[in-house]
Symmetry: C2
Subunit: 176 residues, 2 copies
């Protein structure tokens, strides 16, 4: 799949909303309000926000009028940090925690045909995610159609949710 989990989805939505709210005022935003705004399941969202606090991506304030605030400026928070906080470090292959090949950890290094490329892949995806910040995410929201502000990003036209099937690889498996 190579998919992010729903947790990350929700987190990105929440974070983006926090950016929006906090450019207007400086009050914390409660989990309840976020959940209601986007129709997310509150208990789950709270778990996620909790994890983001532990990762120091958010700060929290308890009590009435409490809630969550961004711990840093949106331009300084990369997607990689968010993803890593919620899903653990990205490891494209099991290699990271030792491929069970030949039962030797990965001592077959001279044999393992996928060392180099996997590493390269890994680094490039990491870099890519590290360079994309919450600020970018928010700006994309502000400019949903047409050419985005930063030249190397693809314009998101309309909702992502629909046109995935444009991909040439739509049905490799409906196994069941």
């Amino acid at each position: 799949m190579l998919a992010l989990t729903r947790k990350t989805d929700y987190a990105l939505i929440a974070l983006s909303y926090l950016v929006e709210q906090q450019t207007q005022g400086d009050n914390p935003v409660s989990a309840k309000r976020i959940a209601e705004t986007f129709g997310l399941p509150l208990p789950l969202l709270m778990n996620i926000l909790k994890e983001l606090v532990q990762a120091k991506i958010l700060t929290s304030t308890r009590g009435p009028r409490g809630g969550y605030s961004l711990a840093t400026k949106p331009a300084q928070l990369s997607l990689l940090e968010v993803i890593t906080a919620l899903e653990g470090p990205i490891r494209l292959t099991q290699c990271a925690d030792r491929l069970p090949v030949l039962g030797q950890g990965c001592e077959l290094s001279a044999n393992c045909p996928i060392r180099g490329t996997v590493r390269s892949l890994h680094q490039r995806i990491n870099q890519f995610l590290a360079e994309m910040t919450l600020q970018d995410l928010y700006e994309d929201k502000m400019e949903p159609a047409g050419v985005t502000g930063s030249s190397d990003k693809v314009a998101g036209r309309g909702c992502t949710c629909r046109n995935e099937s444009e991909s040439p690889y739509t049905e490799p498996r409906q196994t069941a």
Copy 2:
């Protein structure tokens, strides 16, 4: 996690091995031989190879001296095809099959703060994987250390399995 499954790991290993074997002769390579060479569980490997045949990435020959052969030239087989064949289409977010936000599929398009960026992310990762071919993978194996042949790839030094922590993106921010 953003991880590939072990199936894909095994597939890449097998495919890379097929490239190597078939540059030397043109005989099919049996699943058994691949499994023994790398210590992979044979039944599982056969399942994987089967899927690759169905995806027309490999061709198979039955009977004694039968086995699997690449269906195309290594330079024409992208990692994206392999991944898609085994794990289904890449969809970074659940958006692809409708975010259950507000219980409306994704009709909150005007609201959904992550449309644009997610789509952009998605496309770039796809493109990236589509550009990397089995040939690149094999060449990386041949040049494990130092500068790789193609200029835009990072050199894979030593086994991937160990040095993940070398990544420059380990701690993008020590905010605190």
